[in-house]
């Protein structure tokens, strides 16, 4: 299994946010709110379907692809940069958070003041560091590209 290392890196990178989104939506559906799907009245579940669909654009379409691409980039550059995977992953929120907040505003999903959002970025970086070091690192190892 030595061919297509970039494809394997992409798959390993996308797995974490994809599974996390599933867990998050399950928790959200069960404990957070009841969804209202705007279809037949028997489907009364807390959040209108349209905002939910808009809210899902970023975590479902952009984040997993960016994680995959970031893992591919690390694989491509690691011989030259010599940056550990955890540290490389911790850089991602610096780009991802402003993009997510701007998209959230644009799609009218949520709105947050920058002075409130900026202090959260270091926490996100720490979470990303640990996730990339231990989870993505493990997946890369399993895929034979560590």
């Amino acid at each position: 299994m030595q061919s297509h290392p970039y494809l394997r890196a992409y798959m390993a990178g996308t797995l974490v946010p994809t599974v996390f989104l599933l867990v998050l939506l399950t928790v959200y559906t069960l404990y957070g709110f009841r969804l209202y799907l705007e279809v037949p009245s028997q489907f009364v579940l807390a959040m209108p379907a349209r905002p939910l669909a808009r809210a899902l654009v970023f975590p479902m379409a952009i984040v997993p692809n960016l994680w995959g691409a970031w893992n591919v980039l690390h694989l491509k550059l690691r011989s030259r940069l010599q940056v550990p995977l955890g540290a490389f992953g911790a850089v991602l929120p610096i780009m991802l958070f402003p993009g997510g907040i701007m998209l959230g505003r644009l799609l009218d999903v949520f709105s947050i003041q920058w002075w409130l959002a900026i202090p959260i970025i270091p926490i996100g970086m720490a979470v990303y560091y640990l996730a990339w070091k231990y989870i993505v690192g493990f997946l890369n190892q399993e895929m034979g590209i560590a």
Binding site: L21, F58, P93, I120, A126
Partner: protein, 75 residues
């Protein structure tokens, strides 16, 4: 005793017996691949710094629970 037997006896006395551990240690600098392969196979351990970081994240999220949703949105 033949010359060959005498030579073997002299060699045995001149070179002390070597244990397997000492043999492994002596060979180790030349045979690093087994160590590298072992290191690659073992998952990274949680260093004290990582544990402290995880604890700091947990404390920060307890103090500012609203940050959890923003982080979760970006995961």
């Amino acid at each position: 005793m033949t010359d060959e037997e005498r030579l073997a006896e002299l060699l045995r006395r001149a070179v002390p017996p070597v244990s397997f551990d000492a043999l492994d240690d002596a060979r180790a600098p030349h045979d690093l691949w087994t160590r590298i392969a072992h290191r690659m196979d073992t998952p990274p351990r949680w260093s004290p710094l990582d544990l402290a970081l995880a604890a700091a994240v947990a404390i920060a999220l307890i103090l500012f629970p609203q940050a959890l949703w923003l982080i979760a949105y970006h995961m």
